[in-house]
């Protein structure tokens, strides 16, 4: 229930002054309640060569065994011959908030000798999800809640070479950056020293700019100056250098997540060691809704415009080719 207190209006032209309490702000609570009841969906895709720690990172991010590896009972480490996308969904709950998390894995990406066009299955997967959503949206009898399988975020794993972006990285990010929000990260960053890390990051940023690759958060979608300041800080720091693990060790009497090596324990959640927390904060704690919004309002709309224009001009879709010959 709304409290009886206070707060009269802030006069804002051309607004109206409220002489006393009305209770409009209770709508925030109402909205919160409704969304909590309905639950959220989040679809995250991880892309990178095998052995870069994708599954481990996803498990660390969501503090549970959400990756495909952990779910399949008879999982064998095999390098697949083609890029096959596999998705696994879990429902996780925290403090009353339910989320259906779908992790889309891309085994086989970048693992072949000839990696040309290895992004194609991924591009078609992303577009397929948009297509599915569009179809549902166009039905006459629509479902009250359209199931959202669109990829909200694509985490791209860069191997910690310390040099520049490789051709496969450039090609992939160029193409996917147009249709989905890409968050590039430096995987297994514990092989880089701090200086090497900074240099590497700078080179990557330069490379990205030089190739016209847009990664999340994109500058064009900043909504107001506050957003811009916040996002600028993030943009200065990408790609995040992360380390993932699911093992806990004792450090200074506390249990921390970390990787134990002969030369020390790399604390995953220590900002001095790696940027895992930054990534987690970005993806989950502050920008999750924004990722979904950008996917829905921008990427999906772009797809929709292109798709609807295509079908208007060329009539390309199942079975209308013959019909349209005469019409044009």
């Amino acid at each position: 229930q709304a409290g009886l207190a206070d707060t009269c209006s802030v006069a804002q032209t051309p607004g109206h002054d409220l002489f006393g309490y009305v209770g409009i702000e209770a709508v925030l609570d109402q909205m919160r309640r409704k969304t909590m009841k309905a639950g959220f969906e989040f679809n995250i895709m991880v892309v990178g060569q095998s052995g870069l720690g994708k599954s481990t990172l996803v498990n660390t991010l969501f503090k549970s065994k959400v990756s495909r590896k952990s779910c399949s009972p008879n999982y064998e480490e095999k390098i697949s011959k083609t890029v096959k996308l596999q998705s696994v969904s879990h429902v996780i709950e925290e403090k009353g908030v339910k989320m259906k998390l779908t992790v889309i894995d891309t085994p086989g990406f970048g693992d072949q000798i000839n990696n040309e066009n290895c992004w194609e299955p991924i591009v078609s997967y992303v577009n397929e999800q948009y297509e599915r959503y569009l179809k549902e949206e166009l039905y006459v009898n629509r479902k009250p809640r359209i199931p959202d399988t669109r990829v909200h975020c694509c985490v791209y794993f860069l191997p910690a070479t310390g040099h520049w972006l490789r051709p496969i990285d450039v090609e992939f990010m160029k193409r996917l950056g147009k249709i989905v929000s890409i968050v590039p990260i430096i995987a297994k960053a514990d092989t880089l020293t701090m200086e090497e890390r900074q240099e590497f990051k700078q080179r990557i940023r330069q490379d990205l700019k030089a190739n016209g690759i847009r990664v999340y958060p994109q500058t064009e979608y900043d909504e107001d100056p506050e957003d811009r300041i916040l996002n600028d800080k993030i943009r200065e720091n990408i790609p995040f250098a992360v380390v993932g693990t699911d093992k806990e060790h004792q450090v200074n009497g506390n249990k921390v997540l970390g990787r134990k090596t002969k030369w020390g324990i790399i604390e995953v959640e220590n900002v001095a060691h790696c940027e895992f927390t930054n990534l987690r904060d970005l993806l989950i704690r502050s920008h999750l809704q924004d990722l979904k919004d950008v996917t829905h309002n921008i990427h999906y709309e772009t797809f929709r415009v292109r798709r609807l224009n295509e079908s208007n001009l060329t009539g390309e879709s199942e079975g209308w080719r013959e019909k349209n010959r005469g019409g044009e």
Partner: protein
């Protein structure tokens, strides 16, 4: 934003427990923050008779003074007046649109009253649908004008609903969330009010009117909503004036017999209405409008236009395919009509062509006929000419014969005279001297013609009436000679071009058609 209903448990997803704090519990906050930045939209439609207190109630509800002006009772039709206001409370911005019906229930014939309201609501749905169907659309920036709540003001008669009320509400219940309120509730006593409410609700139920029910599925608010559902319709009193009660200023209406306090729950249900409408269920009203009423409208509209999800063979058909099929049909139609028009045109042209050909043939026929006539006449004339020439020839033969006879006697004389006359030739005074020699009568006459005197009387020359006159050379016709009708023959010499000293014209005069006489006329310049 649409999200899957996770609470139902997706069969594709397994529940999993977390071993630590991840942090996505901030999601609702993230979502709410975004919405706060964008602002909220809420549209209320107030339906009720003129003067029943709609504007006052709105003022009281939102604790502000909207610019209202009293409407007259003499509106010919029901009009809807929409006004948008930007309100802000703490950090929440609300774009509130209040739509008032002007003149509702004032007309003598109220049959059309509800139609304008229905049309208005449909128009708002339609514009949203149009935006949604656009190729380039901006739904998250779209100013939603669909009506989220409809407050229906019932007049406090204490008896039952008017038929206009029933009819209007029945028409609107599938299009908008109806919340009935009893207006000016301070005119009804408590017991009457109770009976009135029961009567109203039973009438609504028996007529199948579906008013808005406050949602009872969320445990947080189900108790209060269920309770409120039982108190519908709310009996409200509105007031923007304040009266001092105790040591506080409260909104109230002052009567000689007491003060009706608006915010006193014992006096009226105003506070309950405000709670329900704004504090507890505003979001639900918006959601219901979008997911139920708007979807229904959309479905009906699309089906009307001929779109279905499955074609006659029950195979799923996408909107795009239907659209394409329709477009193709339409284009085919156009083509057919074009063909038809073209054929009609061709046919008309042919018809016209044959008509013209007919006309041409006719004309050709006429022309040929005329030509024939002409050639006939011409041949006739030619014949006449030939006969005339024959006559001339015989005449000249006769003449030469006669001359021969005369020539023997007067030969020398005539020759001498001729010579003499020729020697006299040049007359340089511009005088025309004409000598007429009558070879029959052997006379000669001299005429001096000055300018102006032109005529020579032939009858003078012959001294007898003349019936016919032929003049050579040339194309002289009798019309050159004047006085034909009076038998007076005058020769107009100006008509001849006398150039040389030896110009002669021969005049053959026919006396009474018996004999040919000749006269020679000489010209001496």
């Amino acid at each position: 934003m649409t999200t899957s209903d996770v609470a139902q448990g997706d069969k594709n997803a397994r529940p999993l427990s977390l071993s630590g704090h991840v942090g996505f519990d901030s999601l609702p906050h993230q979502l709410v923050n975004k919405s706060t930045c964008q602002g909220f939209c809420f549209n209320i439609l107030c339906i009720g008779e003129t003067g029943i207190g709609k504007s006052t109630l709105m003022d009281t509800l939102f604790n502000t003074n909207f610019e209202n002006f009293e409407s007259s009772h003499f509106e010919p039709k029901v009009k809807l007046r929409a006004q948008t206001y930007d309100l802000q409370e703490s950090n929440v911005r609300l774009k509130l649109t209040i739509v008032n019906t002007v003149g509702f229930g004032d007309q003598m014939n109220k049959q059309e009253s509800y139609q304008h309201v229905v049309d208005y609501i449909d128009t708002q749905f339609e514009s949203y649908l149009q935006e949604e169907l656009k190729i380039k659309r901006s739904l998250h920036n779209y100013h939603d004008s669909r009506i989220h709540a409809c407050l229906y003001f019932i007049a406090p008669s204490g008896h039952s609903l008017k038929s206009l009320d029933l009819v209007t509400m029945k028409k609107l219940d599938s299009k908008v969330n109806i919340i009935p309120v009893i207006a000016k509730a301070d005119t009804i006593s408590k017991s009457e009010l109770h009976k009135f409410k029961i009567k109203i609700m039973s009438e609504l139920v028996s007529n199948g009117v579906q008013i808005y029910q406050f949602p009872t599925d969320d445990e947080t608010v189900s108790k209060i909503n269920t309770a409120m559902n039982g108190i519908l319709p709310f009996a409200v009193v509105g007031s923007s004036e304040e009266v001092k009660i105790g040591n506080k200023m409260v909104k109230a209406r002052q009567y000689p017999w007491g003060v009706v306090q608006v915010e006193n729950e014992n006096h009226c249900d105003f506070v309950k209405l405000r709670e329900m409408l704004i504090c507890v269920n505003m979001e639900d009203l918006r959601e219901q409008t979008h997911t139920r009423h708007y979807e229904l409208y959309r479905r009906c509209k699309l089906e009307e236009m001929g779109f279905t999800d499955t074609n006659p063979e029950s195979k799923p058909v996408s909107l795009q395919e239907t659209y394409e099929a329709k477009r193709h049909e339409f284009l085919g139609d156009l083509q057919r009509r074009e063909e038809e028009m073209r054929q009609m045109f061709v046919q008309r042209v042919k018809e016209k062509e044959t008509e013209l050909k007919e006309a041409e043939r006719e004309l050709q026929g006429k022309f040929e006929q005329l030509k024939r006539l002409h050639s006939e006449e011409k041949s006739k004339l030619d014949e006449k000419r030939r006969s005339l020439e024959d006559e001339i020839n015989t005449f000249s033969k006769k003449k030469t014969a006669a001359e021969l006879l005369q020539g023997q006697s007067f030969n020398t004389n005539a020759n001498l005279k001729k010579d003499k006359d020729r020697k006299k030739a040049p007359n340089d005074q511009g005088l025309v001297r004409v000598i007429i020699e009558n070879t029959v009568l052997h006379t000669k006459q001299k005429y001096n013609l000055f300018d102006g005197q032109q005529y020579i009387d032939i009858q003078d020359v012959f001294n007898c009436p003349i019936s016919e006159l032929v003049v050579l050379p040339g194309c002289l016709e009798c019309s050159l000679l004047n006085g034909i009708s009076d038998n007076v023959w005058k020769l107009d010499l100006n008509l001849f071009n006398f150039n040389s000293a030896d110009s002669r014209i021969y005049i053959f005069a026919c006396l009474l058609k018996n004999m040919l006489f000749t006269t020679s006329v000489y010209y001496i310049a």
